[in-house]
């Protein structure tokens, strides 16, 4: 039997099972911390930096999705500094590639877009990067639009951890990072792809979508993947 611990989140005292992350303990108690790369049922890479929280006695910010809650820990999930940092992380995602909502199939159903709304973003202070990026339409059913990819790696993880096909990976580093199918070949030529579409369903933006969708038509069902993972007892 796992040990029960006491954790303080935003000055409220909660009881939690040892081993649960700060994000999970917060969620268990109805407190929602902003996330983008995290998806319940998949491993957490802690890469989008939106869920950063302050932990008393720790000199730096920690991602709530990868940090286990410890007994006696005091966590702050909301402060002016955190709000500023989250907005900055979000702005960096918006400037990196070409997120043109008005002509996107995911407009209105996009987690990046709704995060901007949630965090009260009115405009992006930093200059946009406007990179020239390809769109891969080689798959018979799906599209990969690199312009809208935020490199959250949900697709990489779902394909590896749930489907077991390991089609996706991130190549290169930093600003040059790109989502690649197999060893960087057109998606339609990836022999390991089972065309299950899980990557499409978990993609938070319009980067992975079904063909034949017009603007605002693409809705995602990422709960399918979460439910599947939970049923298999992989992660909760």
């Amino acid at each position: 039997m796992s040990q029960q611990i006491s954790v303080r989140i935003d000055n409220e005292l909660y009881t939690a099972t040892e081993g649960r992350t700060i994000l999970q303990v917060a969620a268990d108690n109805g407190r929602s911390i902003p996330t983008l790369c995290y998806l319940e049922g998949l491993s957490a890479p802690g890469s989008c930096r939106l869920c950063l929280v302050e932990v008393a006695g720790v000199g730096r910010l920690l991602p709530a999705c990868t940090t286990p809650a410890r007994s006696g820990m005091s966590v702050t999930t909301n402060s002016d500094a955190l709000a500023h940092n989250r907005l900055m992380a979000l702005e960096l995602l918006f400037i990196e590639r070409n997120h043109v909502c008005s002509v996107c199939v995911s407009n209105g159903h996009c987690e990046l877009q709704s995060m901007a709304q949630r965090l009260g973003m009115t405009h992006v202070h930093l200059p946009y990067n406007f990179p020239r990026l390809p769109v891969d339409v080689s798959h018979p059913r799906f599209v990969l639009d690199h312009n809208r990819c935020i490199l959250c790696s949900r697709c990489v993880r779902v394909c590896d951890e749930i489907e077991g096909a390991q089609v996706w990976d991130i190549s290169a580093r930093g600003i040059n990072s790109m989502l690649v199918a197999e060893l960087d070949r057109p998606w339609g030529e990836a022999q390991s792809c089972t065309s299950c579409g899980k990557c499409v369903q978990v993609c938070p933006t319009g980067a992975l979508v079904e063909k034949g969708q017009a603007v605002e038509e693409m809705t995602k069902r990422n709960r399918i993947v979460t439910d599947l993972a939970v049923k298999r007892g992989a992660r909760t």
Partner: protein, 175 residues
């Protein structure tokens, strides 16, 4: 007491934001009662006037002419409002930004033309390398999101501003 002086300007956009302004319908009478419209694509004034209280600007800054205009607006206006997504993010007008200018001109004036296959050189404003948001070049006091912003939102913003209040538009849909 004089009425607040209102201006509207159309830079690199599709005029959809101005169409949405017209969609305010009878609300236009409310606005007309509160403000004096001193400059707009909808009125016959050649030069942007001095001493403007509120200016709503549609579109991105895409050419040297846009740049000149928006700087003049900033200089002569108390409250400058970025109206719509092109003014805020460049939106559709920024779709050209990843492409080199030459390839765009070739596509339009060489490949797309049956006669006189040449790049135009006279009488046209020079395009900037990128279409850019207003706040990249001037201070913007309020961003009104939408493609286009809805008529009720425009009416709300204008009535608030003309009554001397600054609306808080955080938490609205972005992009």
């Amino acid at each position: 007491m004089r009425k607040p002086r209102l201006a509207t300007m159309w830079l690199d956009g599709c005029s959809g934001c101005h169409m949405s302004l017209l969609d305010v319908d009878e609300g236009l009478l409310t606005i007309a009662a509160k403000a004096e419209l001193v400059y707009s694509p909808l009125v016959d004034a050649r030069e942007y006037p001095h001493d403007v209280d509120v200016a709503i600007v549609e579109g991105a800054v895409s050419s040297d002419e846009d740049l000149e205009k928006i700087r003049l607006v900033r200089e002569r206006t108390r409250i400058l409002v970025a109206l719509g997504d092109c003014a805020i993010t460049t939106n559709v007008t920024g779709l050209r930004n990843p492409l080199p200018l030459k390839s765009i001109f070739d596509r339009v004036y060489i490949d797309g033309s049956d006669v006189e296959k040449v790049h135009p050189t006279e009488g046209l404003p020079t395009l900037l390398k990128h279409a850019i948001p207003l706040h990249d070049v001037v201070k913007v006091d309020l961003h009104v999101p939408g493609c286009p912003p809805s008529a009720p939102l425009i009416l709300h913003v204008l009535t608030e501003l003309l009554d001397g209040r600054m609306p808080d538009l955080r938490g609205r849909r972005f992009g």
